[in-house]
């Protein structure tokens, strides 16, 4: 058993120079994890608290053989012996913070690790922990890059990541900075209520975490944070713009976005013209407006009907929207004819059949029409490409 525990030295914190102050801070914060009730942490707490308490606890659950080892200050909580502890549902809230001080400094370093080394957790627990971490990070850190790094980090290999923190900034700016940084990382796992008090004093820095094997100077970290922010926003845009799933790369995406915005603005333009044409009819009173009264407006159209879009309004007044779109598509191919055609037909009021037959024959493949903007956008694409 002893050997097993000593072999857990792999969990020692490599190269982390935390002062005693930081470690105590870490311990304190970490103490608060108990509120999570994650099973795995409880054995960690057991070691963290004073020895007699541990003894008392373990006596009830473990065999006495294990008790001896737990008492040792150099208990390294690593992956190997966790299976024994995992199913333990030990309640730890009665451990008070003061008991933490009894733990020797060396072990404290491990606590920082072990809280992140969710070693033998079940997959579900790991996911929950990760999500909780992410939520907490989101609330506390300015940059959300930490989330990605958590997602990608292997559960076991945690130690190296800690080394590559953005500590350069902290070292330069003094110990208090490092302290707040460390407490930020530690408080990630603590419940939200406890850590709020400490957050207020923190200055607004972008907390970034470097992944394993990546450059750690402040420039590359800042750049990486910026790039990730941008890629996140691009993904959000990808959901908005239809037909962007296959496109990779910023330039192509931007092309699609530009096209889509232009088509939406064109649609608004088109609809506003239609609305303007329909609008005056609202002002007219009471009685039904027969189609013959419309030529009064339609007569004005030839003056303004130089653009094909305007001409389409004539057809639009009499056609339902589906046919209207088909007319518009048709008109883009043959502007002048449709203009006169549209006006003439409107005034004569033989509108629908004549127009729609010519339009529909061209557009027979499109049996279903939807009026939502994305559907119209696809129609635009077909017409314009």
């Amino acid at each position: 058993m002893l050997r097993g525990l000593h072999s857990l030295e792999t969990c020692t914190y490599n190269g982390m120079d935390m002062t005693v102050l930081e470690r105590q801070q870490a311990r304190l914060k970490w103490q608060q994890q108990q509120n999570y009730g994650v099973q795995n942490n409880n054995p960690i707490e057991l070691c963290a608290s004073s020895v007699p308490q541990i003894q008392g606890f373990l006596g009830s659950s473990f065999g006495s053989g294990q008790l001896v080892e737990m008492k040792k200050p150099e208990v390294y909580l690593g992956s190997d012996d966790f299976p024994k502890f995992v199913n333990l549902s030990v309640a730890g809230p009665e451990f008070s913070a003061s008991k933490m001080d009894l733990v020797p400094p060396e072990a404290a370093a491990d606590y920082c690790i072990s809280r992140t080394s969710s070693c033998q957790m079940t997959a579900f627990q790991t996911a929950v922990m990760n999500e909780e971490r992410e939520d907490v990070i989101l609330k506390k850190m300015e940059s959300t890059t930490g989330r990605e790094s958590f997602n990608k980090r292997k559960v076991e290999a945690v130690q190296d990541d800690k080394c590559k923190d953005k500590r350069i900034k902290g070292e330069v700016e003094g110990e208090s900075e490092v302290k707040t940084k460390c407490s930020t990382e530690v408080s990630r796992n603590s419940s939200k209520g406890n850590s709020k008090a400490s957050e207020v004093q923190k200055p607004d820095y972008i907390h970034v975490r470097a992944r394993r094997g990546q450059a750690t100077d402040s420039h590359s970290l800042a750049e990486r944070a910026r790039r990730e922010k941008i890629s996140k926003k691009m993904k959000c845009l990808q959901d908005l713009v239809p037909g962007c799933n296959k496109i990779t790369g910023k330039a192509g995406m931007l092309d699609e976005i530009i096209n889509y915005v232009q088509s939406l603005q064109r649609q608004v333009e088109f609809l506003s013209m239609k609305l303007a044409a329909v609008n005056p009819s609202v002002e007219f009173n009471v009685d039904n407006l027969p189609a013959k009264e419309f030529p009064a407006y339609v007569a004005n159209f030839p003056a303004a009907a130089k653009s094909p879009a305007m001409a389409n309004l004539a057809c639009l007044q009499f056609n339902p929207l589906q046919k209207a779109v088909s007319c518009m598509l048709d008109a883009t191919g043959h502007p002048p004819q449709t203009a006169t055609e549209g006006v003439a037909s409107a005034s004569i009021s033989i509108p629908e059949q004549a127009l729609s037959s010519s339009c529909i024959t061209q557009l027979q493949p499109f049996s279903t029409w939807n009026t939502d903007p994305q559907g119209l956008y696809n129609v635009y694409n077909m017409g314009f490409h």
Binding site: K139, P203, Y205, C236, I257, S272, L275, E283, V286
Partner: protein
């Protein structure tokens, strides 16, 4: 302990000319909440309620503006629709503020001012061009400029802010198209039926 002083907004410290050239950045404070708030804001444009609010406001504005018709009706309807859309955005986004500002004519004046004050670069400092070859910005930056011109108020924005504005603007435009389509169908369909104060009755139903 100077390092502890929060480094929030450095732009107010900068001199005015420098400020003009530099790409504006939005506040850093919404940082971690940005993702949640941004997606919530965008989802808001998809709700039925928002569309109804917009539709009713638009119809009211159209009724009012019909009495004072300045330019061509189509253009006026378009401007009214955009203005009501900006009002619906409640000024949270930059594009909405830009639309409302341009309506007042303030934007036009400041734009003219900027054009006059434009300083051409010192030609000697430019990299020497190969004869006949045009100096082109990288593809992405060119497209960014185009997008900035499309989105109202997007000329001076940085890449990430512009993307954010664009996503919100696209969501708003989609809602606008849906609402206007519904309204035109409503009015066009009502034109063939006996109207008894069509607008009032339909909207309130």
């Amino acid at each position: 302990m100077a390092s502890l002083i929060p480094n929030l907004e450095h732009s107010p410290d900068m001199s005015p000319e420098f400020k003009r050239k530099k790409r504006r950045k939005t506040d850093e404070t919404p940082g971690p909440f940005d993702r949640n708030q941004g997606s919530q804001r965008i989802k808001r444009w998809r709700t039925e309620r928002e569309q109804q609010i917009y539709s009713s406001k638009l119809i009211e504005a159209l009724r009012r503006s019909r009495r004072t018709s300045s330019s061509t009706p189509a253009k006026e309807v378009r401007e009214t629709a955009d203005r009501v859309l900006a009002v619906s955005a409640k000024g949270t986004m930059r594009w909405s503020r830009a639309i409302l500002a341009s309506r007042l004519g303030v934007g036009a004046k400041t734009m003219r001012k900027h054009k006059k004050a434009k300083v051409t670069a010192n030609r000697s400092l430019r990299k020497p061009e190969i004869k006949g070859e045009k100096r082109k910005l990288p593809a992405v930056e060119r497209k960014l400029k185009v997008l900035g011109r499309l989105v109202p108020g997007g000329r001076k924005l940085s890449f990430s802010n512009l993307l954010e504005e664009t996503s919100d603007y696209i969501a708003a435009l989609e809602m606008q198209v849906r609402a206007m389509t519904a309204i035109t169908e409503l009015l066009a369909g009502a034109g063939t039926q006996p109207p008894t104060d069509r607008l009032g009755s339909r909207i309130n139903s």
